[in-house]
């Protein structure tokens, strides 16, 4: 029997990210498997968020930023000349550290993005489907017209996830999605991620190593080059390998809490 070749949702080729002359991230080659959760870990300032934001061209908003190399979605370079960054952000949704719902009703938080993305179907159905997908429906179904700000932090974060999946992206990028949440809300998000990966590929940046160990299938360990202060991926492997028998001494030091 032939071993099944993994399907990659997204790949990077010698990806470097610059802010002006400073090379913040250098030479990253990652193959992100489809339908899996990949965690990006590493000490503060090593370029994890910069790398994550490069995937849906969020760094474009920083005027001096530019990339070298390629990010391939189905073999198409997302930084190609003909590519519309808005379309990139539709296909790669992002969830941020701090829940950031719009100052609108729960219903509108989901409907608004869908509408401006040209959604023409049954909006009520989409709202319900998205809220169910984010494991929030039962808690909010009787107060859809209320302000999203009335929800708890954990509920707001799940609303942001619902808002993201309403646009039907292929990939969900999460930047420390639970770091502002209490342990129960964190657990809910983590459980939700396991549901979401049936339909989406997830990339998550987290400082919480136990969280990376709990939720992810693959882990990319990032680190700074001493001399240039550029961040890069030093080890990329199955999560259980990274946390039980990493190859790189620096990964070992980091995951055992000995990195200074």
């Amino acid at each position: 029997m032939q071993p099944e070749t993994p399907q990659y949702a997204i790949e990077t080729r010698d990806l470097s990210i610059f802010y002006g002359a400073f090379e913040a991230v250098k030479g990253v080659n990652l193959n992100i498997e489809k339908g899996k959760i990949t965690a990006i870990i590493g000490p503060s300032g090593c370029g994890k968020s910069t790398l994550l934001r490069a995937f849906n061209r969020m760094n474009d908003f920083v005027p001096t930023s530019r990339v070298k190399g390629e990010i391939l979605l189905h073999g198409v370079n997302l930084y190609g000349k003909e590519i519309d960054p808005v379309e990139v952000r539709r296909r790669l949704g992002m969830v941020f550290q701090k829940p950031n719902p719009f100052p609108k009703s729960i219903y509108e938080n989901i409907a608004w993005g869908a509408r401006i993305n040209g959604f023409r179907g049954n909006m009520d159905e989409l709202v319900e489907e998205s809220l169910r997908g984010a494991a929030l429906w039962d808690e909010v179904k009787d107060k859809l017209k209320q302000s999203a700000y009335a929800l708890s932090g954990g509920q707001q974060q799940r609303l942001c996830i619902a808002r993201t999946i309403a646009i039907q992206p292929e990939i969900i990028l999460m930047d420390e999605p639970a770091s502002a949440l209490d342990p129960i809300s964190t657990l809910r998000i983590e459980e939700l991620m396991q549901e979401l990966k049936k339909n989406y590929t997830i990339l998550i940046v987290t400082h919480n190593m136990q969280q990376a160990a709990r939720v992810s299938d693959y882990t990319a360990m990032m680190m700074l080059y001493e001399d240039t202060r550029s961040g890069t991926v030093i080890e990329f492997d199955k999560t259980d390998v990274i946390f039980t028998r990493p190859t790189d001494k620096r990964t070992e030091d980091y995951v055992t809490g000995r990195f200074g």
């Binding site: 946390f243 039980t244 055992t256």
Partner: protein, 231 residues
């Protein structure tokens, strides 16, 4: 940066493993000495003291669990912690072998030894020596010793073979010696198993250092099942 609290706790656990190990070593040597001298009182004490070995094992197990819960060890730390659980369980079993030898002495009652003990004390000395060095290699994470030690198990196996053959000559000469031969064979068997378990400790040391599970074949594994023999 080092994790001082965690490092201290691990060091403490390793020290305690050596203490537990020395309890087992002493029990083994004393159990064989008591059998040799037919000293029932000492054997009874060894049987009672086995509870202290079991108790210590549970105390250490509890400390390990607290350490897992509070420190969430990863990578090499995780391997050390998991291996400590394994090693203390091996030590407890070895303690049971020592107790088993003491029980044999008590069961023998007024019966005299079938023959003076020569090879059985040798087995005990060799096994205990191997155990001591295996535990030292475990706490110092000495890969070289951990890889070399299992080979020495052959010496214990050879002594066991010798004891077995010798006892069988007694049985063949006089079938009424079966029970007395059996007692001594069981004592020797316990010591042979103790040495086998030493190789498990060595395997753990290799795992801690390299992350690899590498099994050493012991004499016990050589008793193949019929299916395995056909392969």
């Amino acid at each position: 940066m080092v994790r001082k609290t965690f490092e201290n706790e691990i060091q403490h656990l390793k020290d305690e493993i050596l203490v537990l190990g020395s309890m087992v070593e002493q029990a083994t040597l004393e159990a064989v000495e008591a059998l040799k001298k037919r000293d029932i009182r000492t054997s009874n004490r060894i049987i009672a003291d086995d509870r202290k070995i079991n108790q210590k094992r549970f105390t250490l197990e509890n400390q390990v669990m607290i350490l897992i819960a509070t420190q969430q060890p990863m990578a090499r730390d995780l391997r050390v912690i998991a291996s400590i659980l394994e090693v203390i369980s091996e030590l407890e079993r070895m303690g049971d072998y020592a107790k088993g030898i003491a029980v044999i002495n008590v069961r023998m009652g007024d019966n005299a030894l079938l023959k003076p003990l020569i090879d059985i004390p040798r087995m005990a000395e060799k096994g205990v020596d191997m155990l001591h060095r295996a535990l030292t290699a475990f706490v110092t994470e000495d890969l070289e010793t951990a890889r070399a030690l299992p080979g020495e198990d052959d010496e214990v196996d050879m002594l066991y073979e010798q004891v077995y053959r010798e006892l069988m000559t007694y049985v063949m000469a006089d079938a009424r010696t079966i029970e007395r031969a059996n007692w001594l064979l069981w004592a020797a068997h316990n010591l042979e198993r103790l040495a086998d378990r030493v190789t498990n400790i060595c395997e753990r040391t290799v795992f801690v250092v390299t992350g690899e599970y590498k099994e050493t074949r012991t004499s016990f594994d050589e008793l193949e099942t019929p299916e395995e023999a056909e392969e």
